[in-house]
Amino acid sequence: MNHLYEARILLVDDHPDILKMLSSILTRRGFLSIRTASDCQTARKMFRLYEPELVVLDIMLPDGDGFSLMRDLRASSDVPVLFLSAKDQDNDRLLGLGLGADDYITKPFLPDELVLRLSAILKRTYFSKLIQEPESTRLVLGKHTILLESGTVRSENGETPLTAKELALLKKLYENRGNIVTFDALSDAVWGENYYRYENTLMVHIRRLREKIEDDPSHPVWLLTVRGLGYKLIKGD
């Protein structure tokens, strides 16, 4: 498989209309190789013949259930599985994910959401090296370029090293760039679960980080404070 859209996808659902619609959605979004099965027996047969690279599974099937089918499939392969079911109880969701499913979507669903989640699984499973492109470890904030791998900030004045905690904070903010990251999530990323009484220390680390990545640390434009909630790393142009 050279590209995401070349992935062989097996859709298993007892409802022919749903299978038809899923095929239609995926085909329209560019996926090229799709097979369908409406019961466990056909699904097992298709699995052997077709060797899919991703299985979208319904739970309630006429001759068995999706959980058992997934156990059978996983016995011989590590194929990623996405559950797509009308069962919305937490127990079903937890059971599916607990068995090792890669995702669980409840019906009805947004076609775009299904495609995004499905693509994310495929990328994670088959294109993980592509995700870690060198470009993604470079963070450009105005005149400052942060090299996340080496933990340094490059600017007109030269290179400034980041401390381990500053780097951890920056990585967390970068993963959620454009979104507010709470004090708790940041403290958790730096100090782990027992992060109580670190609020002031966090402020100190943020101030030092600003001194390294902001032109004017007193009037930050990249790393902003959201009062009462946390911090936000502004998205670039």
Binding site: P108, G178, N179, T182, R227
Partner: protein, 452 residues
């Protein structure tokens, strides 16, 4: 149980007071009767003394005045005076068989006992020994002799006996009270268990047999009613769950194809917009189904709480940040104020459900104030526990909705179909928390401090 102890201690106190009152009554009765007795005894003594005074001697003859004879007629049947030799010196109505000289032995005998069954009283006068007889079988006569030691012992024994008896009586009252308490305790435990909806099977014996039988019967009835209610609730929840499950497949098709049409370049802009509307409305129906399922499960206690420790401050920050990150309009603002004490606090609860509840409260303010408003969420610690406040400066919640949610709306047909606030209320209630509508713009949530 405190009530039962109170009842029993009151019973013991009452019994003790009744005992004291009876004792007091007895003492009073004995004093009155004794006084009466001594008064009557004194009369007998005074009659004989009067006759003695009315006796006189003239020319060797013994005489009795008229008053003396009147007294004799009234109180005695015969009388005589014996001289020092035992001969009869004077007599009045003396039966013939008693009219003879008396030896010292005979005199000593009748002075202690009776004379021919006549109770006689003797008085030593100047004229001789005056013997006065009353009607046979009217007076009990007995000379009592005893040592001073025995009499002293008897006098001392009176209070000892009295107090021993009192103590024994009190012990018996206490023993019966205890037995009564034990019987009642079983009943009280049974009633308490009933009030806590626990089934009971009390022993049907002893003095509380009838009451125990009736309580057992009541318990059986309550269990049966509860089972019926549970079956009905289960059926209702299963029905809602089944219907919502059945709706999901056709709704998936509508949403899926609407999503496809929305992206179809062969359609016009207007047609794609309409397809987008269909998709958005289908999503709305999906959320309604989820809310309906959740509210039904919460209503009938079928939603399991995944309780785990969580920080309320972190939960609120995460929720509000998520709302900002998902995008709220510029006209809306959510301010969060958390007291320092709450920052350190860890509570136990289903954080996903609680987050949903707070999200519903904030979402409700945003939805009903499309022109914008500022929502203020605060968390502070009170002596009773944690207190959250969600307030906005918008239009506020209509009175009919508050009355409907707080059960004050009598005509339920007029009740508005409000899901978000109801679910929030149910989630807080499932945690033992209380949601209070302070005014139309302010909601307070009081959490139990024991869960912290």
């Amino acid at each position: 149980m405190k009530n039962l102890s109170k009842i029993i201690s009151r019973y013991l106190l009452s019994a003790f007071l009744v005992l004291l009152f009876t004792l007091f009554l007895n003492i009073v009765l004995y004093i009155v009767l004794g006084f009466q007795f001594f008064r009557s005894a004194d009369h007998t003594f005074s009659y004989s003394a009067m006759i003695e005074q009315e006796l006189s001697a003239a020319d060797g003859q013994i005489l009795l005045s008229e008053t003396g004879y009147d007294c004799l007629n009234s109180h005695y049947v015969w009388a005589m005076v014996l001289d020092d030799s035992g001969n009869i010196a004077w007599n009045w109505n003396l039966p013939a068989h008693l009219s003879h000289p008396y030896t010292p032995r005979q005199i000593a005998a009748f002075s202690k006992w009776y004379l021919d069954d006549y109770p006689v009283t003797e008085r030593i006068t100047d004229q001789g020994l005056l013997v006065l007889a009353q009607e046979k079988y009217t007076v009990w006569k007995k000379n009592i002799y005893n040592s001073v030691g025995v009499v002293t012992f008897l006098i001392h024994m009176v209070p000892v006996t009295l107090f021993t008896n009192l103590f024994l009586l009190f012990l018996m009252v206490f023993f019966f009270g205890l037995r009564f308490y034990r019987s009642l305790k079983i009943l009280a435990d049974g009633i308490r268990n009933l009030s806590e909806q626990k089934p009971i099977r009390l022993p049907e014996k002893g003095m509380t047999e009838l009451l125990a039988r009736q309580l057992n019967h009541t318990s059986d009835l309550l269990i049966r009613q509860r089972e019926q209610l549970n079956r009905r609730d289960d059926a209702r929840t299963a029905w809602i769950s089944g219907v919502s499950h059945d709706i999901r497949t056709p709704l998936s098709l509508i949403m899926g194809y609407a999503g496809n049409l929305k992206e179809d370049p062969s359609l016009s802009e207007e047609q794609r917009h309409l397809a987008g509307l269909m998709e958005a409305q289908s999503l709305q129906i999906k959320h309604l189904i989820e809310d309906l399922n959740l509210t039904s499960r919460l209503e009938y206690h079928m939603q399991p709480l995944r309780s785990a420790p969580f920080k309320p401050s972190a939960l609120l920050r995460e929720l509000i940040s998520h709302m900002y990150n998902c995008g709220i309009s510029k006209d809306h603002a959510i301010d969060l104020y958390i007291e320092q004490e709450v920052e350190q606090m860890t509570m136990t609860g289903d954080s996903a459900l609680l987050s949903r509840a707070f999200s519903n409260l904030i979402g409700n303010s945003i939805r009903h104030n499309p022109d914008g408003c500022t929502i203020t969420v605060t968390a502070c610690l009170t002596p009773k526990g944690i207190c959250f406040q969600a307030a906005d400066d918008g239009t506020g919640i209509p009175d009919i909705i508050i009355r409907s949610l707080t059960g004050q709306l009598l005509d339920m047909e007029k009740a508005p179909h409000i899901m978000g606030l109801r679910i929030a209320m149910q989630i807080f209630s499932a945690h033992g928390w209380e949601m209070v509508f302070t005014d139309k713009n302010t909601i307070h949530i009081f959490g139990d401090s024991t869960s912290s």
